[in-house]
Point group: D3
């Protein structure tokens, strides 16, 4: 593997957090915004590991919250880079929540964040490419192009008709 | 206006925050995840005002971060409900950051969060409808349907070919 | 309006906060000191807007706490400058607390803070004057002189017999 | 000393705090509101010690901030009850700040807070009386009546012409 | 493996944390007490995983801090149970700190914490035994007895002359 | 007393803290790690007072937690230097917890932390010697040598057979 490439395991990051009172709403459940904050930190560390650089958050894709997570639960966040572009990286994060005394563990959230590697002045800087290894990693790598087109359209930086990869989502 | 409807102004919420050291990265800029957390709180309060209920975050749509926000900047978050569905509400949040001593003010982010109104047991409960008033509010109201289809597709709860509203994004 | 004057609306600041567990005492009510902290931040941002400068807290006047504010309540703090002196500004803050699911909203506190505008070295620097517009603003503007004399006496920097404005409080 | 009286030493409370980054403004000085928060906690503990009860903040008197306190300074807050009324107590707090490596120590602030003792339902409940011991304690005890009249006038719960104690401030 | 035994991997816990401004002293290095706090959380989660119970910290053994850890570093804490006694567990935690942009990674701390498993009333409750697998795990398992005797002596709950295991530390 | 010596009272530090929701576990008791954090801050301030220098934590000795401390309790931490070595200091900390409304006060923890005095570059620097005054202070001073040998052995920086002071613990 050359200096200018990394495998997903190089950026693999596991974060474990206890849900504390100040993280919760009046139903004693974790607030969505607090989880978005934790996912950003886990993903940023993963992007740092891939690039060996300071990184800044460029975007978060749609995240849905379907499972309540309770006060006292143990959160596990697992993040790894799925694809690198010139100076940016897409990171995939999976969250599980566990009520250990009750013996209940559930997958609760997944998200894609993107980061830009920057130098000390905050200017974008090139990052190593990502070489996917497993089949799951290859699928995440391939899908990254489609997700990127969606981000560009939503940020009004690409015309929908040019999003050839994304269209396959609707007409495959 | 009936008991069962609200106008966007009823849920209008302004939040002002100072960017503190613990909110920043090693470049002294606000971390993206912290901003996602603040937007979630502002939007949740807005959804509470519309529904008069406890609300839980159901999703956040794609958010991009294009402008760095510095330590000491004053953040202004403005949130209001754009459309209500059975028990859920879409909230639009706009963020501006201001370096007051430097006289610089910039629009930095906008986002759509959705919330579900729940009772004391956490069960979904109906919310009043939203009646848009201004032209901008009507456009946000109309677009809410398209954004909802995109959320459902991304959550794999709708087939792309059924997303008739969303398709117009690509072929209008 | 000249460069060297501002109207109260120029410094109007709205802050919305959720009362979180760590803000509360063992009765699950907001601690007074936490509210004094939030009012200071809202008022400081208001004074920054008026002066376009870094500001430091110079004083807070007597504040009374007559209404308990509960965990989960939504606080709204509204601040604006009432009068400017050479390098200092008086800011008036009004607080309301709302239990949205219960449909209860109450005015809970009001306070006057003063701030001094400073340069990067922390030295006081002149601020624009404040031109009150409405009748309420004119009354606040007029009362600022009396409150200032009371502050100076309490800080033992003015002799009570020289406080001509303040005396009218007792003998009007 | 009967069960129903206490001396100031019974409620003497010393709190030591390190000024941390998140407590400071962009000049790296402690924010006034954070200090008001810390003084409230120290004073509340003092009032708890006097009364043996849960206490809630009733008011803070005018506080002025004349000395900047820097990041890394060590704060010492000393609080004790100065006088008890039916169910309320006045607490006097003195703050010193020390830059230990520089060998600089300065008295920075003093304040009077009042608290009401409450039962588990939040209802006011009688407190022991305070018997001052030293001459300084007797002066604080005597002045408490005057400060109380000022609070009542400022809260519009006493007419200025009835504040016989306070008038002596202006015409002694 | 029976229901009443676990292997060290069952309790393996990885925690990743970013060193934030409020965690640091005036040299911009992580404060020792903050690291002790993070190690306690990582170790408690590990003990929860082993026992499937609520756990409370019983002790921490001597911890030394020989390497400064800087603001912005990424901390990795890895914890696993080394031995179980009736209702208590010893957990071993290793900490590494990484300055990713500088490409520097160092092992900084290791510690042993012990926890007691408790029921909902806070009463101690039996835990599964721990069956070490690898040679390193067997050595940690064996040493746990010696460390336990040292803890009991230091807590004055065992006479030094009865600490047969510990003596071997001095006369082996 | 010369410039180069101090008595224990010179470094005496009292810290008072309220146990807040975010400090507690799901049994509403103070987490051990949070207490270790508070003891580190109190002890560091004490070592600063003795040395007049910036200090960094070098070690904490075995600490045991035998008494639960509840949400709302008032913690009192008292710290003072027990002995100075070339550039390091041992600090003794005693913790009491008080449930004031219940009238219950208990000694809960004691600990020894050591600190190194450093200059602005983080290099160790000599500290004044400590001259114990009372009999208790003399015993703490004498024991400091034994505790130091134990620390060095545990850090594998001294051979057990050279720990002549420590051996007396086992064979006195």
């Amino acid at each position: 593997m050359s200096k200018n490439s990394r495998v997903p395991n190089d950026s693999f990051t596991t974060m474990t957090e206890l849900v504390l009172p100040n993280d919760t709403n009046t139903l004693n459940n974790l607030m969505g915004g607090r989880l978005l904050h934790l996912m950003d930190i886990a993903a940023a560390i993963s992007a740092q590991k891939h690039s060996g650089r300071i990184v800044v958050t460029a975007s978060v894709d749609n995240v849905s919250f379907q499972e309540p997570i309770a006060l006292g639960d143990v959160l596990t966040l697992q993040a790894r880079v799925t694809r690198a572009f010139t100076s940016s990286m897409e990171v995939y994060i999976e969250v599980t929540a566990e009520n250990i005394p009750a013996g209940i563990r559930k997958a609760t959230n997944k998200a894609f964040y993107t980061f830009v590697a920057v130098d000390q002045m905050g200017k974008p800087i090139n990052v190593p490419e990502l070489i996917p290894q497993t089949q799951e990693e290859q699928e995440l790598f391939a899908g990254a192009l489609r997700r990127r087109q969606l981000r560009l359209i939503l940020a009004k930086r690409m015309k929908p008709e040019d999003a050839t990869e994304l269209k396959s989502l609707f007409f495959s």
